[in-house]
């Protein structure tokens, strides 16, 4: 919680008399208590903005919280005062008055004036937030049960993108740049929400909604699908990774490097297992069969939304399965998340190395995905969904196959 602004605003209010001052202090104390009672470094804290849009929202919000707080303290103080002063102490029955119209009208106009004062900046901020003219970079965002896909179309923006890049879970953007998100959904309504960067926007099938994203500094910004989207809604997360311009160029170049088959024996076996078991749904760009023919996934034949995460360069990301689990271990995660903005880029671009690979979660996932993340992936339910899974089914892989696959996946970067 940011407390400094709230604090000053309350002391700045010039209350005329002693009772007013008492109430001011009470409001201040309440605000102070509230602030002291909050979590520190919560990754999705709306009161800790880290980008232009979120900052605009916050700048609009806190004075309104303060006004609401003062009004609340005033009203409750008056009620408390009346309740104590006018309790039955044997006084005579009071005058049976039905009210004083002048007082009533005055007390109707007063809140109306306060609300007009609130409405004007609201509309101004709203229009500014929806002004996308100055965006310099476009990312297409697509939600489906229960993960986000990010694709970077060919464009002059984002420092120039010559071939499309498709990734998932983590959206990498250049820092200090206005990015235009164009979002939709392949199945039900999802909502894209990175609290420290901007408010949320629903991503609705059949519609394309826009949202501006900008991060002041390099770093990692947590988000979560905010519109209830079915069984595993709680496991649909995403992160925005902001890199400085040089690091962003490095990231782009790496994403577009040609695919090379691994060298190690186990990883090669893993590649074969991947082709046999995974490539029906999961694309790895550049992978070919023995004859050199590119292998193209056809998730539309297998899963309901017709898409599965593209796993090209998987290990340049930190998360998998809808950003619900980490590919890096806890120590490394702490290091990356708490890095200084200057050092963040290098740490992130190092991707996943053997020494900090979080093998446990990925192994469990490969063993039985629907056990780890609830999904409608039960073969017995297929008749209800036109023979299509939603999410990854249990592939009944052997432990050897899983070992091979892990060795192979670790090479994808």
């Amino acid at each position: 919680m940011r407390d400094s602004e709230t604090g000053t605003s309350l002391t700045d209010v010039n209350l005329p008399n002693a009772r007013g001052r008492t109430m001011g202090f009470a409001a201040l104390a309440a605000a102070g208590l509230f602030v002291a009672g909050c979590a520190q470094n919560a990754p999705q804290d709306t009161t800790d903005p880290a980008g232009e849009s979120a900052q605009m929202i916050y700048d609009l919000s806190w004075p309104i919280f303060a006004i609401a707080g003062i009004v609340g303290v005033l009203v409750i103080s008056v009620i408390t005062f009346v309740v104590i002063r006018d309790r039955d102490r044997g006084q005579p029955i009071p005058e049976q008055t039905h009210g004083k119209p002048i007082l009533e009208i005055g007390l109707t106009i007063l809140p109306a004036l306060i609300l007009i004062g609130v409405a004007i900046p609201t509309v101004g901020t709203l229009m500014a937030l929806n002004d996308y003219d100055d965006t310099e970079c476009v990312v297409n965002v697509t939600g489906q049960q229960w993960w986000w896909e990010f694709d970077y179309p060919v464009q002059d923006g984002c420092g120039g993108i010559t071939e499309p890049i498709v990734t998932s879970g983590q959206m990498v953007i250049p820092a200090d740049t206005d990015v235009l998100i164009r979002g939709t959904s392949r199945d039900v309504i999802h909502s894209f929400w990175i609290p420290r960067l901007n408010g949320k926007r629903d991503m609705v099938p059949g519609r394309v909604h826009s949202l501006k994203m900008q991060a002041d500094e390099p770093g990692i910004y947590a988000g979560q699908c905010a519109e209830f989207c079915g069984l595993s809604h709680a496991n649909m997360r995403m992160e925005v990774v902001a890199l400085n311009d040089g690091d962003f160029e490095t990231w782009k170049a790496n994403q577009l490097e040609d695919y090379e088959s691994p060298i190690g024996e186990q990883a090669l076996a893993g590649e074969a297992a991947f082709v046999a078991n995974c490539s029906r749904c999961h694309q790895v760009d550049g992978i070919t069969d023995a004859d050199g023919v590119p292998i193209v996934s056809r998730p539309d034949l297998q899963v309901y939304p017709g898409a599965a995460p593209n796993l090209t360069n998987l290990m340049t990301r930190n998360t998998f399965a809808g950003a619900s689990w980490d590919l890096i271990d806890q120590d490394r995660r702490d290091e990356v998340w708490n890095a200084d903005p200057d050092e963040f880029g290098a740490l992130y671009l190092a991707g996943v190395e053997d020494s900090w690979f979080n093998e446990i979660d990925l192994r469990e996932w490969l063993r039985n995905a629907p056990l780890k993340k609830p999904m409608y992936a039960d073969p017995l339910q297929l008749d209800e969904t036109d023979g299509l899974y939603r999410g990854m089914p249990n592939l009944a892989l052997s432990e050897d196959q899983i070992d091979d696959l892990l060795a192979y996946l670790l090479e994808l970067k």
Binding site: G99, T125, A226
Partner: protein, 669 residues
Amino acid sequence: MAIIERPASDTLTYSDMDAAVTATSSYGYLRRPVETTGWRSWAFTVDHKKIGIMYGVAAMVFFVIGGLEAGLIRLQLAGPEGTVLSADKYNQMFTMHATTMVFLFVMPMAAAFANYFIPLQIGARDVAFPRLNALSFWVFIFGGVFLNTSWFLGGGADGGWFMYAPNSDTPFSPSNGVDFWGLGLQIVGIASLVGAINLITTVLNMRAPGMSLMKMPIFTWMAFVTQMLLLFAIPVITVALFLLMFQRSYDATFFSVEAGADPLLWQHLFWIFGHPEVYIIVLPSFGIISEVLPVFSKKPLFGYPFVVFSGAAIGFVGWGVWAHHMFASGLGPISVAVFSVSTMAIAVPTGVKIINWTLTMWGGKLWFTTAMLFAVGLIVNFTIGGLSGVTHAVAPSDTQQTDTYYIVAHFHYVIFGGGVLGLFAGFYYWWPKIFGKCLNERLGKWNFWLMMIGMNMTFGPMHIIGLQGQPRRMYQWTEARAGEGFFNLGFWNLVATIGTFILGVGILVFLYNAIFQHRKEPAAPIDPWDARSLEWLTTSPPKPHNFDRTPTVHALDEVFHRKYEDVGEGDQHEYVLRTSLEDLVLEEERHADAHIHLPAPSYWPIVLAFALPIMAYGVIYTAWLIALGAAIAIAAMFGWALEPADAEPSDFDPPATGGESSSKELANV
């Protein structure tokens, strides 16, 4: 037949009216029930008081069910990665918790009060259409039970109470839960709609002589506005549910994106209903505390016309704010700006009410009974809910707050703080009127403080949890997103769970008070609170015909002015008790009306209501059941239309000795 009583019209006797509207002879097998004791006297009753009590009991049962669902939700969320419920069960739990609390507890409990007290407050002997009243109760019961049978038939609905398309469609919600939900709410909606028509007619046509609209008790006014909202809101949700039914059961494509549908259609339909619904939930409670506060302050409601008109204003403006539930839906900035400003506008009449309640107490002679405590508790908690409402009328802020626990905090302060606390004020205030015994005040105070502390511990921390980024409707939360420090989101989630159980204990105290302690209480005096409005001008509990003599009304707060006289001079007021309420009621008995005709009970409302869930099961399982249900419904409608106006004199034991009229005379009971 419903007898529209107009005691002022001496030219027409009731038996003449019967002859004009119904067949006088019975059809032999079509009789009207006459039992006044036993289960039949409840199942076939058309007495608004019995129906009101049944509404209350049934709503309380659903309240307990919805509360258990809430308890399970909070248990699941007490710690990270909760495992009390599976994802699937959790999604069903929050969907059914909201559905149960809104449609099966708060609305019918408000209907219980409206049913019981509107006729009493306006000096009528029953509602305008007594059989329709019974129908609406039984339809509600069967609809609510039908909805809850889904638990045993493959699981409850799992799409959230807002049931956004296309997540509500069969591929995404393959169990029958959503079918039960859509059909159950259509049935319950019929109950609300029938009830609304009935009560609106009652209020407009059956007020006692002298009771102009601006002398009408404030609870009746607020309940009347509520019924007007229901009259227009229920058809909207019914249309939406009807489309959903065809979408899921008969392969229609109203919400199929691949067929060109726009999923936002459902959102508009749902919230055009859903926002007025908020006022449907809170206005009856506002009415209740607007009765309670004057009584226990010994002052009239401050600014009665302002409270009436602000209620009516809420009733109108409430239709123009629905899209504030959709600020993140992608409506475009112009629409969002308009709805943002209109939402702020509705805060004004709401604020007027809070100011008037406070000024009612100002300079009064406050008596803190449990009812009064709940009323003051409502003002405080609803103020908090109203102010947090203003913070998300600010659309840009709302894009950060919507679908987080901040919203959960807000609407529980409104619905629980503004709605449920008012209903509890009503229980304690009107219990002696309904049952002739007061609820125990000592337990009542435990009840109040446990609920007050419990609700603030449960919903208060949710403001923090939400603003710090925890979305709603997640079956698990994770440490990774909960922040650091002692007061992280985990701490507050645990506090909220503990609060829920304190709240639960408070409600158990109420149930103990109402069910067990109640039996040990002595009979209440006829005027335990020194009350002010017309429902007290009769015995407690009221006789079947409510009033021995139809009262003539001269003032707002009629009963106060009958009891007290202002003997002060000029600006000096001094109120002296002239007549006690006992004497006033005895006076009424002495001047009882010679002929009091009450509507006869009927077999058909419960039969007709029973047909609806059968048809609904038919939609889900097999068309034959639809035919069966339809046959029962048609038979019931014919029975309803053809049954005689009254029971045969020979049906009574001992047989009634009516003269030319076949009605049961209740004069001089």
